[in-house]
Amino acid sequence: MTDTLDAPKTLADGAEDAPAYPIQRKCPYQMPPGYEGLREKGPISRVTLWNGRVAWLVTGNELGRKLFPDARLSSDVLDPNFPLLAPRIEAQRQQAAAPPLVGVDDPVHARQRRMVLPSFGVRQVNALRPVIQQYADDLLDKMLAGGPGRTVDLLTEYALPMPSAVICQLLGVPYEDHHYFDERSRHVLSSSGPEQAAQAQQAFTEILAYLDDLISRKQAEPGDTLLDELIARQLEDGKVDRNELAMIATVLLVSGHETTSNMIALSTMALLAHPEQMEALRADESLMPRAVDELMRYASIGDMLMRVAKEDIEVEGHVIKAGDGVILSTMLMNRDAQSFEKADDLDIFRPSGRHVAFGYGIHQCIGQNLARAEMEIALATLLRRVPSLRLAVPADQVPVNAPFVLQGVSELPVTW
């Protein structure tokens, strides 16, 4: 065999050097073991998935920002070559319905995104800020009422119910029902353990059925929320069918829950581990928007974004062949030393860099304005009102989510 220095390398060239992936995090907001080596091999290398398949791993920030918007990389989860990170996702795919927004390409994606986009704009989100503040205060009133010295789970007492209430309000889901889907949302995006594969599937189906039923109720008795608007402007005009609408609502509801709640929990942990930065934030809340971006970069909770190549793509001396699986690691992109100085340090004073924690390209998080507002308010309120907050267990005993789901913790015991 000749050493083909010049010929572009394909997936098969060097497949023997493709470590198992994904890798479990030890600390919920730090790079898992093995990432250091992957980073050194950057900006693109190979990994082996659970089913033995080798896929590309993109770790370089600049390269990733070039590839994310490339229309030759598809998000179509129904493509038979789409790379899957765990057996349970295979099970989900058997259902043969692609999740709207996240699992489809343009033009379907663009049509769906345009439907819901106006509700997530800066102005609309800013109008919600007082409501978000109220939820934060009410939840802390309840949590603090038991007095100091108790141990509570910050995730279920604060970090989860807050975004849950907000997305319910925005969509028009009666908040009385939140227990029904709070728990089920967790199963869909964050549950750990192999035995929960079926549970994730069932939880999704149940939320879908709930929202389908809610659409019927709203058709009989219209209101003025996002869901009502979609029914009036899209469903009744025949621009979207009922099942698709229920699926869109499910995706928004589930993502609205899990992502922000995990970020609030991990941000709290990370700030507690950096008391001087926490104090700076407490002293000057105007630092919060930038701090939120830095915390997003640092924790990179939606680490693995999968794509499948529809055509050959030549990059950096490699050729991604049509049908190859491509995983973009937002954590490694966000910790690329060429783009971020001291990339592994949390530094809330860092100039808001080019992190890709909300993704990049056409699928960039549609709820990012809402998520930012929720994080800013949740963290500022927590710091202000609970100055003696601390973890109730050593940080390394906080249970971390499985590697193939949204990164986060399954509980966060705190005291004050």
Partner: protein, 67 residues
């Protein structure tokens, strides 16, 4: 310098409107527009960064000749 936004491409992520609210705003459909009268970026240093930050590269800068 003249800023233009390809509205067919824009996905309404609002990155531009958040980072340079003096120049960019969102319309009622959630897409971005350049505030009237500020098509030249009003000398704002962050405009170039907004171009880079746009996730779909929908913002372009055309260098105009100085009169």
């Amino acid at each position: 310098m003249r800023i233009s936004i390809d509205t067919d491409r824009c996905i309404g992520s609002a990155q531009c409107a958040v980072s340079v609210p003096f120049v960019f705003e969102q319309d009622d459909d959630g897409f971005s527009t350049v505030i009237a009268g500020r098509e030249d970026g009003a000398g704002h240093p962050m405009v170039r960064e907004a171009v880079r930050a746009c996730p779909v590269q929908a913002i372009t800068l055309a260098e105009t000749q100085e009169a």
